[in-house]
């Protein structure tokens, strides 16, 4: 374990992993229609007391329709003077289409922001032969995060963006002018870190490519999750347990090609006794998943909302030690720590339920590939 080396420049607060107890919220429109995030912002704001102002953030899908073919890199520079080096690096390793400062609004409640920049890039011939553009982007994100002091790529997907920082989520939304953005999925997070002052990189959502995770909980299995993922080249630079969740999902879904239902059975598997009782052929599948991926069982209390292009998934740990409420209304799906937050913005719901521990709630856009056919309602933010 080479944690000392990584921590020295990537973990300014010297903690091992950040323990959270938080509010989470997600809403998606399964038609792929983009909509304003005001509802999501109001909903997460209503769960103000679940956070402590030391981190808030949002993931918005469908927000960059004009640039849907390019990877949108959101980069935070914690230290002055690094940006020129990083931009030089980016220019040497990507086709840089747009480089711009992310538009922010002066907000008193959000203190001491780092420099926040956005780059739309494409990979083209930069990837090594046989390496997919996605793999190349992951590799470069890991390099930038470890190589440049105080520099973090905190969003790296196509036609989506992560916006996060220190502050209550409603203040972070205000800071990033999120009222200007439209998306077909919004996930949101209000944070209550319990053992650090909180820092910009440690806020949620965590993301890699277009995968994002917002997380309420503490992962007691972090040590082995991390060691396992490091063997696959993931470098845990943010030093929070949510990061391993993001990388685990990337490994299972993107690299190993498992469908989300099976990935959920890895992260929050059924008990052995349930598997042994199951007479169907599914038992063999579940047993194999647990045998092969024991190191990715996320043990300890958690609720997560995972999103990526066209899909939003809610999942709790297998004995459901953190809350999650799901609801639908028309084409909208809601996931929230508290039902009241959903009712606040959508009083009339078609269905409201409490998912069982380890049972994923999956919302999918109706067979629309949003990468190719971007929703037209997005707003330019340049």
């Amino acid at each position: 374990m080479s944690t000392a080396g990584l921590s020295s420049y990537n973990n300014p607060y010297g903690d091992d992993h950040v323990i959270d107890a938080c509010s989470i919220f997600g809403v998606m429109d399964t038609t792929g229609q983009c909509f304003s995030g005001q509802g999501a912002i109001n909903a997460i704001a209503s769960m103000h007391d679940r956070g402590n102002g030391l981190g808030g953030g949002f993931a918005v899908y469908g927000c960059y329709p004009e640039f849907s073919d390019w990877y949108a890199l959101h980069v935070m520079y914690m230290e002055a003077g690094v940006r020129a080096d990083v931009e030089g690096y980016l220019a040497g390793h990507f086709h840089l289409q747009v480089a711009e400062e992310i538009r922010t609004r002066h907000t008193r409640a959000v203190g001491e922001p780092p420099q926040l920049w956005r780059y739309f890039v494409s990979v083209d011939e930069f990837a090594s032969p046989g390496q997919s553009p996605d793999d190349y982007v992951v590799q470069q994100v890991m390099r930038i995060n470890t190589r440049f002091n105080g520099t973090f790529v905190f969003s790296s997907g196509k036609n989506m963006g992560v916006f996060k920082g220190i502050g209550y989520p409603e203040d972070v939304a205000d800071f990033y002018c999120l009222d200007d953005y439209r998306g077909y999925i919004w996930t949101a997070h209000g944070r209550f870190p319990t053992n650090t002052p909180g820092w910009w990189g440690g806020a949620h959502p965590f993301s890699l490519l277009d995968w994002t995770v917002v997380h309420n909980g503490e992962i007691s299995s972090y040590g082995i999750n991390r060691r396992y993922l490091e063997a696959y080249g993931y470098q845990c630079t943010m030093e929070t347990d949510t990061e391993v969740m993001a990388y685990a999902i990337d490994l299972l879904l993107r690299k190993h090609g498992l469908p989300i239902e099976m990935a959920a059975a890895v992260l929050a598997p059924p008990l052995w006794s349930e598997i042994e009782r199951d007479p169907s052929p599914r038992a063999r599948l579940l047993r194999s998943l647990r045998q092969v991926y024991p190191c990715l069982l996320m043990n300890g209390p958690f609720t997560i909302i995972i999103a990526h292009e066209g899909e939003m998934i809610g999942l709790t740990d297998r004995i459901r030690l953190r809350p999650l409420t799901a609801a639908t209304r028309g084409s909208r799906i809601y996931l929230s720590s508290e039902e009241s937050a959903i009712r606040l913005i959508e009083p009339q719901l078609d269905r409201v339920w409490t998912p069982l521990g380890g049972e994923p709630v999956i919302g999918r856009v109706n067979n629309v590939s949003l990468g190719q056919q971007a929703p037209s309602l997005g707003v330019s933010v340049a």
Binding site: V292, L297, G300, P301
Partner: protein, 501 residues
Amino acid sequence: MKSYLASRFHIERDPARCIQCQVCVRQCGFEVHSYEVEDDEILSDSSRCVGCHRCVVFCPTGALTVRENPLSYRLNANWRPEAIEDTIKQAETGGVLLTGMGNDKPYPVYWDHLVLNASQVTNPSIDPLREPMELKTYIGAKPDRLEIDPRTSEVTTPMPPQVAIQVPIMFSAMSFGSISLPVQKSLARAAEQAGTLFNTGEGGLHRDLYAYGNSAVVQVASGRFGVDADYLSAGRMIEIKVGQGAKPGIGGHLPGEKVSPEVAATRMIPIGSDAISPAPHHDIYSIEDLAQLIYALKEATQYTKPVGVKIAAVHNVAAIASGIARAGADYIAIDGLRGSTGAAPKIIRDHVGIPIELALAAVDTRLRQEGIRQRVSVIAAGGIRNSADVIKAIALGADAVYIATSALVALGCHVCQMCYTGKCSWGIATQNPYLNRRINPEIGARRLGNLLLGWSHEIQEMLGGMGINALESLRGNRLHLRAVGLTEAEMRVLGVRPAGE
């Protein structure tokens, strides 16, 4: 030759309590006590006493006390009593000094310098009496990833043979010959009842134990004793024994007088002949030879059972383990410096090999660095005394542990280290039918089952305290360990941070 050794123990008999019932006379395998008919008196020859307490425990009136003979040598930090006594013994015998059980020297016990974590506030601890708490473990090589047919949701990746154990604790190799048949029967029954495995050692599988084949690890050692097609197919797993923690680098020698008709039949050798296990396997002089034997055994059993390799923990253990993993083994058992034996040269038991904690950590780290940890299960052996040692071994990276001394202690062993004499008063390490009748397999299995049950409960409590409800989430999860009183270098090898950090 007059012996210059003073007796090690001193026996005190309370004449007010002794009723001359002669229980002590009959119980002692070392013939310490004798009955003088004429005087109706029991005499005790303290010089023969090994300190096993059999007579003390069985004396119906509590008349006996055994004390260490308080010999006061002139203080000398260099020529300590053991050094003096060993020198005297060799001067009188001209032989290699033999001993039994594990290393008794005061090397650091790293388990005692590692402490465990528990949940407070930010995540709930889990109560194993009310919530599920999973200890089930699968031993066997795992593929790196699963391929699944998207149409049928069928797993298309071939899965190597897996063996489920309900507790991460197995009984380590103890051969019929080194221990008695009733002891092996106790181990076999307990393993079957607890859903774990016992290990035949290199002495073959007695015909009475074929019924327990599904709970047996059958060993293939350098002497190949008792190995045939039936033996291999009877076992649940096959283990190639390369080395043993108590005597790395050397072989074994069961003297002919211990090769009784039953032992002879089980080992497939003539009655009364010496059973010599060569130091190396003479068909394994290199890693590629080992690979051939692994695959020969897999072929012989149609790839239906895991084939593992047991090695002693030596300096280069991590690289050796990596080679074994690449040679196709399904599991690696590592036996540390404090691992036990039925008989070994004392000088080797006490000075060769490295502690299991460091070896285990180094192996797990190395296999992960090479990205091949999935390919093998790792079993830690040699010096596991309680459930805390088990759980710490799991956190350092072991899939499961082997226990032997703890199991024998559960059956009565008082660790007197005289196994090699064959006179065991507790009826464990002996082929003497008068002595080995003392172990009743049914009661023995109950004692062993209780031990496993007690440890399982404790492991579940500790896991639940950490907020973890499946053992796999602790496996290799060294963040749940902290070091107390270790050097930087030791912590680096263990991959553990100091307490407070």
